[in-house]
Subunit: 340 residues, 2 copies
């Protein structure tokens, strides 16, 4: 067999403030021969996710820093092309953490490192989105922290994104009112018309807390009972001003502070006066919910009840630029890189 | 029977920023004759508590505003002097919400409005402190929100106060390390030597977040797992910098912002990166825990295992000034006004 060349993207330096494409480098490496127990996967899609920004830094965070001069870590779906492991065979569709590269060589005896998936009713790429980590993230925050009840109002920031879109749709399925926050009229229209949220506020039309708070008041006439936070900063301040007693905030991301900008919370005393609960979480620390969550999400996607959109960049070389765009909200729905 | 005169303190105006004694007025009113079902209580002690500051304002808060030109509401202990209610008789010791006045006339058929207490092993005044609302507040935050486990580190602000002192002692009884924050060397010495905390930091020696954070690092070598917050502002910022993954913050009070000062939280992203939980609460909304909490607290006080100190002002006329002092931290332990 002729040597297969594997194009990879490495992180080669850490960003000072905003990251640039210069922090990444395209590297070509031959695919080595398989050892016993190993599986060779050709990656079809790379998943680009906001949490990856945190891993570019060296500082203390929940995620281990991404090592320099190695393949940039991330979720992938693909197809087994060669196997020396009894549990996998060529043609199997799989989800894993293959990173930003065309091929991954996996010791598939490590539990959980590679999962076979069924693409009969669910498209392969959805296992990186609504039926993958972003979907379970939405499910966990909404179900376990916000614990949305029928008749309540749930607000979601980054509502057109891979996580936010699922949060609002699940809230609706549980009988709650779903109000999104997104950037620009196109995203807002999509959130309401395609995803079925009750309302969506274009935060770009509301540059200050007062204006955003007024828009939230109009969109949430009965106040806010649950908030799924992906952004932080002024958006969080505005939602807190409209929160009801006993409101719950699931803190999933604070993308507004990812480059080290200060993002103070203006009025933490509201957490006391409204007896609110705020909880930060990382879905990978709650593996016990994944089977239940994936079952619900998979069924909803397969039956067309859970909708999502993908922004697809083409080719491994496009990954860094697509990722920087994601951090600026240029994506529309789940950001993927298509390799095959 | 000659008419008994009842001295009362009314709230007559709302503070603009810091409250003054001018917001209060001493009023004399005759004690009316008892109707069927009523009980006349002579108040022995008034309870002064930080939450009362919030009730002086008209704005939205968890507490209903104190009405103007009426007796200032608050907890009291006293003795029944006359009864036309079969459940109470003269000489009974009782705890209630008698407000700032010498006598209260109560329709004692209203459930929960007046509770008989046993002063055989627990002093009457303790029912306003360690075996009363402040004690249950400490118990709830530590037990239900922080859920302190043996080997963990619990930090408490306002550690020499009626609530904070109980928090740290309960934390010690549950096998945790207890670290207090208090103002001045006398209070810190008391917190360690009399209450048995492991350490106490004099926040007045640490005017900025960096210095306070360094002191916390020294006092909490294994980081902070639970924080019972009575103060807010820079103290909260400093504790958050030293918090471990999965730390819990029970938000009981934010006295640093009671006069309307902005008290932003500097780095809310720590709540995410450390997957922290922060929960505001008011103990009167959790009546279901009171029996269990009071049983533990009463036993601990009766057996000398739970210690407390009282600052006692004399006479109804002293209540406003003593209250203003409490808001500035001039009290040492539970602030009371002794009437008899």
């Amino acid at each position: 067999m002729s040597t297969t060349i594997n194009k990879q993207i490495h992180l080669v330096s850490r960003p000072q403030g905003e990251p640039t494409t210069g922090n990444f480098r395209l590297v070509e490496a031959p695919v080595p021969a398989l050892a016993e127990g190993q599986v060779l996967v050709r990656n079809h899609y790379l998943s680009l996710d906001p949490y990856m920004r945190g891993r570019m830094n060296d500082g203390k965070s929940y995620a281990q820093p991404q090592p320099l001069d190695q393949v940039f870590l991330g979720g992938t779906v693909g197809e087994v092309v060669e196997s020396r492991n009894e549990h996998f065979k060529a043609g199997d569709k799989v989800v894993g953490m293959g990173g930003w590269q065309q091929y991954q060589l996996v010791d598939a005896n490590q539990r959980g490192v590679l999962q076979k998936v069924d693409t009969t009713h669910v498209p392969l790429s959805a296992y990186l989105g609504a039926v993958g980590m972003p979907g379970v993230t939405a499910w966990y925050g909404l179900t376990k922290i916000i614990a949305a009840k029928a008749g309540e109002t749930v607000v979601v920031s980054a509502a057109s994104g891979a996580v936010g879109g699922v949060v609002g749709q699940l809230a609706k399925l549980r009988g709650a009112r779903a109000v999104g926050l997104a950037g620009g009229p196109d995203k807002c229209r999509y959130v309401v018309e395609e995803l079925g949220f009750d309302e969506c506020i274009d935060y770009k039309q509301h540059p200050d807390v007062k204006s955003l708070s007024a828009a939230l008041k109009a969109a949430c006439p009965a106040g806010v009972d649950g908030y799924f936070e992906n952004v932080g900063g002024k958006i969080l301040d505005a939602v807190m001003l409209r929160s009801n007693a006993f409101a719950r905030i699931a803190l999933c991301g604070m993308i507004s502070g990812y480059n080290g900008e200060p993002i103070p919370m203006a009025a933490p005393q509201l957490l006391l006066t409204n007896r609110m609960k705020l909880e930060g979480f990382i879905v990978s620390e709650h593996m016990e919910v994944w089977p239940e969550a994936l079952k619900e999400l998979g069924t909803l996607v397969a039956t067309g009840k859970l909708k999502f959109r993908e922004s697809v960049a083409e080719g491994i070389e496009s990954a860094p630029e697509a990722f920087l765009g994601l951090l600026k909200g240029k994506n529309f729905g789940k950001q993927l890189v298509k390799l095959v």
